[in-house]
Structure formats: C-alpha cells, structure tokens
Symmetry: none
Subunit: 167 residues, 2 copies
C-alpha cells in the first residue's frame, strides 16, 4: 500500500498538487480520482487519531478504576482468543514506529487530547470515542464507569424480558 507508505512517511493532509500526483500514481491500478485519495487521507488520519485518542482516554479509565475499588467480580479471563482476523493496517502503535511519526503525530494528538484529560473526565464526545475502547478493555473488566454506574444508560428502563446470555 502506497498510501500507507506515504502516511507513514509523514504525509497527512496532502495539498491539491500532491493529491494529483498521488492520484496519478495510483491510477495505474485502477480508476482513482483525486477525491478518493483525499478521502483516504482524511479517514486514515481520523481513524488513526481515534485509536490514539481512545487509547489514552481508556488508559485514564483504567488508572482511575485502579484507584480503588474492590472489583466486585467479573474477573478477567481474557485468555480467550480474540477474534483474529486479517490484519490490515493496525500498525499504529506497536514498536516499529519511525520517529518522525511520533514527532508529528503525537504532538498533534496530544494537543487535542490534553483537553480531554484536563476536563477531569472523559468528556470525549459521542460514540466514536467509545469505539476507541478497543483492545485493552478486555483486560479491564473492572473499571469504574465515569459516573453513571447503572445498568441503563440514558433512556427509560422500559419493559424487560431479559434473554441474557450472549452479549
């Protein structure tokens, strides 16, 4: 993947000429429009950031929860093999990071994230954030919900016919 290569090389938001150029390169493989390239970078950057962001906010949750409750139950048995699919582009955080990556991205990311952190809570926004709960959550069944520690989130607790089991 050429695009990922570029991304890794530090390209984040290519400008029009760059996009054109990239598009030209890629068009060898199929019909590709500048728009596609643009979207690709948008999405990739956004999702990379989400991951990053999530990781942090979750980390906070962990820390917080670690602060002290006797985790009532729900012990961790995560030896279960998670679904292993194909790996596509999960590279983001594991070791082989070129340093430039960190420089550029971390700086940016942290900037944004700092707010969240200072908020005292994960004032992070909607669900995408949650989407970021990613992997580690499995190792953290015992956590401390932000505040609302109840079974039902916002809405009414309508009727119930619990079928339990399954998630």
């Amino acid at each position: 993947m050429i695009l990922e290569e570029m991304y890794r090389s530090g390209v984040r938001t290519p400008d029009a000429p760059q996009i054109q150029q990239i598009t030209a390169h890629l068009s060898c493989y199929g019909n590709i429009e500048g728009k596609n390239v643009f979207y690709w970078f948008q999405n990739h950057k956004a999702r990379e950031r989400q991951k990053l962001r999530r990781r942090l906010s979750m980390h906070h949750l962990l820390l917080r929860s670690a602060a002290g409750f006797s985790t009532p139950n729900c012990h961790v048995f995560f030896h279960g093999h998670h679904h292993h699919h194909h790996h596509h582009l999960s590279t983001a955080s594991t070791s082989p990071l070129p340093h430039h990556f960190f420089n550029q991205d971390a700086a940016q990311g942290l900037n944004l994230l700092c707010k969240l952190e200072t908020k005292g809570e994960e004032l992070t926004n909607s669900s995408a954030e949650a989407y970021g709960c990613l992997h580690q959550c499995t190792t953290n069944p015992s956590f401390n919900p932000p505040k609302t520690l109840d079974l039902f989130p916002t809405k009414s607790s309508g009727g119930f016919k619990d079928k339990s089991t399954d998630r």
Copy 2:
C-alpha cells in the same frame, strides 16, 4: 440480548461513557471490548434501517404492480426523506477481487465525478482547498492538466473508464 433491549429502549448511538458501562456489564459474560459494543450498535442500527428501507421499496413495487400497469411518472423510488445523496453506482455485485489480499490499496470501484483541479484558484492551502474542490468538481467538467507533473499519464486524452476494482 441485553443490547437489543437497550436498542428497543431507544439507545441508538451510545456515547463513550455509555459504551463503557455497557461493556463493563457485558464483560461478565465473556471478554468483550468497547469496540464490540460500538460495532454492535452501528450494525444493528444500519441493518434495521436497511430492512426498513427494503421493506418500503418492495412495498412500492407491489403497489405499483398492483396498479396493473406502469404509471409513467410514478418514479417514487424510496428516498423517504434522507438528506443523503449517496450515489454509489453499482460496481455491481460481482466483486472480482478478494479485496484484502492484493490490496494495492487506493482505488476501490468507485466512480464519481471529480477531477480535483488545481486550477488557477488561489491555493488557499492544504486540504481545505482540496476539500472544497470535492463539491465543485462534481459540477465542474473542466479539468486541468496538473501542472505539478504527472509521472503517469493518467490518460491525458479523453476519458476512460476503468472498472478494475483493485484493492
């Protein structure tokens, strides 16, 4: 399923804290990650909508056929009131490639109308410009040879529509 219960109760796109909670509760039944919950809601919502949509369109078909003959101007087609202009052109159902393996990235069968032009426009800068370009381009038939070199002849002459879905 607990999740369905919630869905029925009105939870559609839970935000981060909510997802955290849910995940926590569900983790009692097994290892569950936040992202699983997120995905579940995404998928469930999408599929509900899909079912509904399909139902409607079919209903329309039935109504139409019940009319006995083609009422010329009855192009109702669903489109309830979605303010979404999605134009995916088919790309057909026959996906020629496994998608994940030879993913030379980039192009996935898409064809839209955009030319990404660098024109004499003021290059405001970076992507914003490119972004704006997205919309315009659709209506903008004029394309410019990228002055920024094109290493590859994207096919400088005339259009050509390749459908090679690569990816």
